[in-house]
């Protein structure tokens, strides 16, 4: 059935995504790590929909849609930031600093 191993793989991929977000400063790589986390979650949905029915597949579609939308808008934001800062290094983007 591969339920346990699938979930474990999903967990490892998700953790790697978190690690990437924490470690990298490049905004685009950050985005890719977020995509990685979304993929890990998708794997969970697919694995569990063998038990709970086709709702999991539908949810995967929604996640993909959101991911696509997020990628489009997020990359547009990065473009705008790059135009302004000439960099996508997050160290340089700290408008929220108290």
């Amino acid at each position: 059935m591969l339920l346990g191993p699938s979930l474990a793989l999903s967990a490892i991929l998700f953790s790697l995504g978190v690690a990437g977000v924490l470690l990298r400063r490049n905004a685009i790589v950050l985005f890719m790590c977020i995509e990685l986390m979304l993929n890990a979650v998708n794997l969970t949905f697919v694995a569990l929909s063998r038990l709970y029915g086709a709702g999991g597949y539908v949810m995967v579609f929604f996640v993909m849609t959101v991911a696509a939308a997020e990628a489009a808008v997020g990359l547009a934001i990065i473009l705008a930031i790059f135009r302004h800062e000439q960099s996508v290094d997050l160290e340089n983007i700290n408008l929220l600093r108290g």
């Binding site: 591969l2 339920l3 346990g4 699938s6 979930l7 474990a8 793989l9 999903s10 967990a11 490892i12 991929l13 998700f14 953790s15 995504g17 690690a19 990437g20 924490l22 470690l23 990298r24 400063r25 490049n26 685009i28 790589v29 890719m32 790590c33 995509e35 990685l36 993929n39 998708n42 697919v46 694995a47 929909s49 063998r50 038990l51 709970y52 029915g53 086709a54 709702g55 597949y57 539908v58 579609f61 929604f62 993909m64 849609t65 959101v66 991911a67 696509a68 939308a69 997020e70 990628a71 489009a72 990359l75 547009a76 934001i77 990065i78 473009l79 705008a80 135009r83 996508v88 290094d89």
Partner: protein, 184 residues
């Protein structure tokens, strides 16, 4: 046989994901991410979700990652610049992610039987009875084909959320265009 293929794909996925987050170059990172997504598509096939696997390759590995690569090249930041954070952040990351893995790795041993036992609280629960919906879905797939098995709930039960995503995508398009334009 299935398990062996699963573990091969799993290993590829984990290794390429690790390389993705460790590669200096954004272009290599993107390419390693594509590798991860391809192997995930393989795992989807193994899990009986062939249609999802196809969409994964088309949308993710195809469209989304091409968009990434396109932006990387447009901004001309493909060549390597050191962008790892400081050592204290690396240490914190190792600790936090380590804990996360420890917490989640307990999922490794789960089988449908054990899951059913935990959910119902009795060790002798029948997973077939508890997860009847999954059985029904598999029978539906067997009867109508892979696409039909997904399409039926998508266009019947989840029709309204599905239509809502079209609005989401539309607004994302408008947003991306507005943000990316030089002068509004």
């Amino acid at each position: 046989m299935t398990e062996v293929v699963f573990y091969v794909f799993a290993t590829i996925a984990v290794v390429s994901a690790a390389l993705c987050i460790l590669q200096r170059s954004a272009v290599s990172a993107a390419l390693w991410l594509v590798t991860t997504m391809f192997s995930l598509a393989g795992i989807y096939v193994l899990l009986g979700a062939q249609f999802i696997a196809a969409v994964q390759v088309l949308v993710y590995a195809g469209a989304v990652m091409v968009l990434f690569l396109f932006v990387i090249m447009l901004l001309n930041i493909g060549h390597s610049t050191p962008d790892l954070r400081g050592s204290s952040m690396v240490g914190a990351t190792v600790v936090v992610v380590g804990l996360l893995v420890v917490e989640l790795a307990t999922l490794w041993r789960y089988t449908p039987r054990r899951l059913a036992a935990e959910i119902t609280g009795t060790p002798l629960a029948n997973p077939a009875a508890l997860f009847a919906a999954g059985q029904a879905a598999q029978q539906e797939t067997a009867a109508r084909g892979v696409v039909g098995g997904v399409a039926a709930p998508l266009f019947q039960q989840y029709l309204v959320p599905f239509e809502a995503t079209s609005v989401l995508l539309l607004s994302a398009i408008v947003g991306a265009v507005v943000l990316a334009k030089r002068k509004v």
